[in-house]
């Protein structure tokens, strides 16, 4: 990173409260706005999110995520009747010309078995390798973002009655 882009990144940090990573392209896939949330000092789990756009004319599939923690999985949050449940998402289809969004209340990458100094702190990044059926593997950094209040995070949540838009 050049001095200029560092300054730009710093400006983003000041204005938006977090830094915006550049898009990452792998094959026909574009990975946008990867981030992880900061965790408590003693946290043993953390989550990360990213949008994956398929610009190609063939479907692809997210098969797996690997990272240097004891257990890493893609999870889906399901909400029904006011009860939340996380479960392994399995393989996720990325339609041709479509996208999947890992976001709060939907899919997340879950890092399990954090210990001690592994807590996610603002200013650091979390590295993980995403494995796609067509595009292959890509290792990306998820900048750690501070938790904001409800306004930033709750916009797309389902209601108790609907409880069906957790994964969209």
């Amino acid at each position: 990173m050049t001095c200029k882009s560092l300054a730009l990144a710093a400006a983003f940090t000041l204005t938006a409260g977090f830094s915006l990573a550049e898009d990452i392209t792998v094959g026909t896939l574009v990975l946008k706005d990867p981030y992880a949330f900061e965790t408590a000092k003693t946290a043993r789990a953390g989550g990360a999110f990213v949008r994956i756009v398929n610009t190609g004319s063939d479907p692809d599939r997210l098969l797996d995520v690997r990272a240097d923690y004891p257990k890493v999985q893609v999870h889906e949050t399901i909400e029904k009747d006011g009860i939340a449940r996380m479960q392994p998402a399995g393989e996720i289809d990325i339609p041709a010309g479509g996208m999947i969004e890992l976001k709060p209340g939907g899919y997340h990458i879950m890092f399990m078995g954090l210990k001690g100094a592994q807590r996610f702190s603002v200013g650091e990044t979390v590295e993980a390798t995403l494995v796609f059926e067509q595009a292959g593997e890509v290792t990306i950094d998820f900048p750690v973002r501070k938790r904001t209040g409800g306004k930033a995070d709750m916009g797309q949540m389902g209601t108790m009655e609907q409880g069906n838009n957790a994964s969209n």
């Binding site: 900061e38 408590a40 003693t42 939340a84 709750m154 209601t159």
Partner: protein
């Protein structure tokens, strides 16, 4: 709410001996129920509990609920739903405090097997100084969950990284009236703050 459910709820109030609240509801200067977001069927949610606080001390509801309290049940090994809801509740506290209303939040662990005193203390510190982490024995946690009619269940994975299914409502509990309202996940911090303020200004 249908008329019959309202009637049942009112009968329930009296039958359960919630005479104080019923009297206040009828004779009070304003109806506290008019503050409520949810259509609450009456005094069947909430009540006494015994848990362990962030210092390791055993405490009861009387020790802890000394001001309007947003009560949430979750677990710290939860990277998505619990932190999102806790951040929302923390923001409601900020809004209330900017209006001069003293309130707090409780985060009650439904995963006492992993959630030590230190775990719940550190987790809640991430969100707000006035968010109190509570844990306890599995019996104490089961009892408070039953009292608040919340659901939780362990998904066995055969390792230490198991996941918990759990209710995601936030309950508003007042020192004098007890439980008065609950909020769903999609309730905004502004709505929560306004509701808490409405109740707080009447008591």
């Amino acid at each position: 709410m249908t008329l019959s459910r309202t009637t049942i709820a009112l009968v329930g109030f009296v039958a359960l001996g919630a005479a104080g609240l019923a009297t206040y509801t009828i004779l009070g200067p304003r109806d506290p129920a008019s503050c409520a977001q949810s259509q609450v069927a009456g005094a069947t949610i909430g009540g006494p509990f015994t848990l362990v606080d962030e210092t390791g001390r055993t405490v009861t509801d009387r020790d802890i609920i000394t001001k309007p309290s947003l009560v949430y049940f979750g677990y710290t090994f939860c990277p998505d739903v619990c932190p999102t809801d806790s951040a929302r509740n923390a923001e409601a506290l900020d809004l209330l405090q900017s209006r001069g209303i003293d309130a707090q939040a409780l985060f009650i662990s439904i995963d006492p097997e992993r959630d030590t005193v230190e775990q719940v203390a550190e987790f809640t510190d991430l969100f707000h100084p006035d968010m109190i982490g509570l844990t306890g024995s599995s019996e104490q946690v089961a009892a408070v969950s039953k009292t608040y009619k919340t659901y939780f269940a362990k998904q066995e994975t055969g390792d230490e990284y198991y996941l918990m299914d759990h209710s995601t409502f936030t309950y508003l509990v007042l020192p004098d009236l007890g439980f008065v309202d609950f909020f769903r996940r999609d309730t905004t911090p502004e709505t929560i703050a306004n509701t808490v303020a409405c109740f707080a200004e009447q008591s």
